[in-house]
Symmetry: C2
Subunit: 368 residues, 2 copies
């Protein structure tokens, strides 16, 4: 990799790793049965989006109306906004629904009545279900309430009921790979049980959509679900690594950081690369220390293997402090570049707004 042009924190994306990550998920999906509708909030890039098409992807997920607008302008015509519908953006949603096959999330009476009154284009409606994460959605146990909402949607002329959608985000609290699998299976089981109960109430053809990257990465098959929406799997990150949802070599982005100070007495060095580049997300290691990133040396095409006994121990606005051992420190001098693997790639990508590839190409992202 040509480091000559790198003077400041620069986000490097390895296109080969990205393609492998997409292929790994896409390859596990049974064609004609389950749809892969990846979440594009992680990369936020039209160009990276194109790579998904090579694996048959034609429908996507986003997390905001603005992001839907960006990808619509870049040719995506089937978009789910996986965020509780925001009344205040009705005008933008109506405009968007003219251009694309739009899927919206609802979880209350109030919103369905509002949409029925205010929407002027046909849109597909998913009911957001809470299978244990307790962020948004109606509890999977509240069958009657859900059935009532479905009936209300079905009475509307422009609202087309599609199914039930969940994000089992509590998989991020799992302690190990087996626990992720358990949470995933439990979440899918709760969704299928709900579908079964709705059928008993006369509501048929209810599709199931699931989302989280840990669950989708560890699941062996997706036989009971109609759609998977994971997004982080395009890049993965240290959080997914700690969850055992990916391997070190799957992490597809890294922040190139100039070394600005070395402190041999403390076995630490300081890089230009802080919270405004990486975000303040962290994981805890086995000794309960906060880890804000891992480190690798730059390599010919990207970066080498992750250095052991080395981690970002603190971040301030522009500084990163990396704790390490003499073996690593002896290889470093001020002015070198090291590669920091981010803890949460979605937030890092959102902060950095653009990627460079090891061969020097620039990949842009949305800006609004």
């Amino acid at each position: 990799m040509d480091l000559g042009e790198i003077k400041r924190p620069t986000l490097i994306l390895d296109p080969e790793k990205v393609r492998k990550n997409i292929e790994r998920i896409a390859g596990r999906i049974e064609e004609g049965k389950t749809i892969f509708r990846p979440h594009f909030k992680t990369h936020q890039s039209a160009e990276v989006g194109e790579w998904f098409k090579e694996f048959g992807v034609s429908a996507i997920t986003v997390s905001s109306v603005q992001m839907a607008g960006y990808f619509s302008q870049h040719g995506w015509k089937d978009i789910t906004i996986a965020f509780p519908f925001n009344k205040l953006e009705i005008r933008e949603v109506n405009r968007l629904a003219r251009e694309v096959n739009l899927n919206l999330l609802v979880e209350s009476d109030d919103i369905i009545e509002f949409l029925d009154k205010e929407i002027n284009q046909p849109v597909k409606i998913w009911i957001k279900i809470d299978t244990g994460y307790h962020r948004a959605g109606i509890s999977w146990k509240d069958t009657d309430q859900i059935a009532m909402l479905v009936k209300k949607i079905k009475q509307s002329q422009l609202l087309d009921f599609k199914g039930i959608l969940t994000h089992a985000g509590h998989s991020y609290d799992a302690g190990c790979r087996d626990e992720i699998k358990l949470i995933h299976q439990e979440s899918v089981a709760r969704m299928t049980e709900l579908r079964f109960e709705l059928a008993a109430l006369g509501i048929d053809n209810v599709e199931i959509s699931i989302g989280d990257t840990p669950g989708c990465s560890t699941a062996e098959e997706f036989c009971d679900v109609d759609e998977i929406r994971c997004g982080n799997m395009v890049f993965y990150d240290v959080m997914q690594l700690y969850l055992a949802a990916c391997r070190k070599e799957d992490i597809a982005i890294a922040l190139a950081c100039p070394v600005v100070a070395i402190h041999p007495k403390r076995n630490e060095f300081v890089v230009y690369g802080g919270a405004v580049h990486l975000s303040k997300d962290y994981v805890l290691d086995s000794e309960n220390r906060k880890i804000y990133g891992l480190m690798a040396f730059p390599g010919k095409m990207g970066w080498g293997s992750v250095e052991k006994e080395t981690f970002v121990r603190s971040l301030s606005q522009e500084h990163g402090v990396i704790k390490t051992v003499p073996r690593v420190l002896n290889r470093l001098k001020i002015g070198d570049i090291v590669m920091v693997l981010p803890v949460h790639s979605c937030l890092t990508a959102n902060l950095m707004k653009g990627y460079r590839t090891p061969s020097g190409d620039f990949i842009s992202t949305a800006s609004y």
Copy 2:
């Protein structure tokens, strides 16, 4: 405040509170003795910068070469880049030094030699001292090493030795206001001791520059220091509130967030406003719960008082989940706007890239 135009998370800035915050610090500085060189990394805005001029400020601090470039273009001619000098930006630094009175931070032999060779304009040099934070800098105890660096700087033709500079960032770990004061006093005492020892070695006229907002906010006077560089005090935030470095009513920015879901069973509601707006920084409350923000209702000119028993309990990319009590929940409906006071205003401002005032004006920030 006219909420009509707010559809998405929008950062509101109260100019009156900002001016009061500036005045409070500026008013405690003895004219002709100590210089107030505020850190502009918090607001990153040329317009907000102008307000400091009303209080006699003419010299500033920034955290990156790019930020120095931005404020130089907006008329600031005396700038300290409070970050270890980054060799890889020498060309940009030389360009900048032609335009402004530039102050740089060094902490090693290596960098002084490099600057001596590569700089082509006169620049002022501060030696970064570590008084206990252990991020960057040379330990205040290493008098001999510091004296050696000073001598090296003084031998150079274009490097002009200015003094010793510290950031007592460990004040952020303080448990109470008294502890902040203690850390501040200790840090200043260590700096004056170092100055005394340098004088004994024949090095005179050593200025002292200190930085952190908690320390500067709680100190009653700044008699032993030549310069204070705090920046967060322009806005303050929930972190400073928890440190007792400010009062609730001093917090000068808040994120206006649409309410998108209400969960009475859990006494929670969901807002459009997440980690990409607020950042993932948090404080721990007395029950060891993570607090990602506090909440107030919008008011006539900004927002009202902070609601008790109410806090942002989790953030994902675009969602914020607010834990509250029926008293607050009963006043809310979907589509309302609530105001979230950020935990770390520097990171929130950096993410939002622009402010609106309660009277509807837009204030822009740097973009690079």
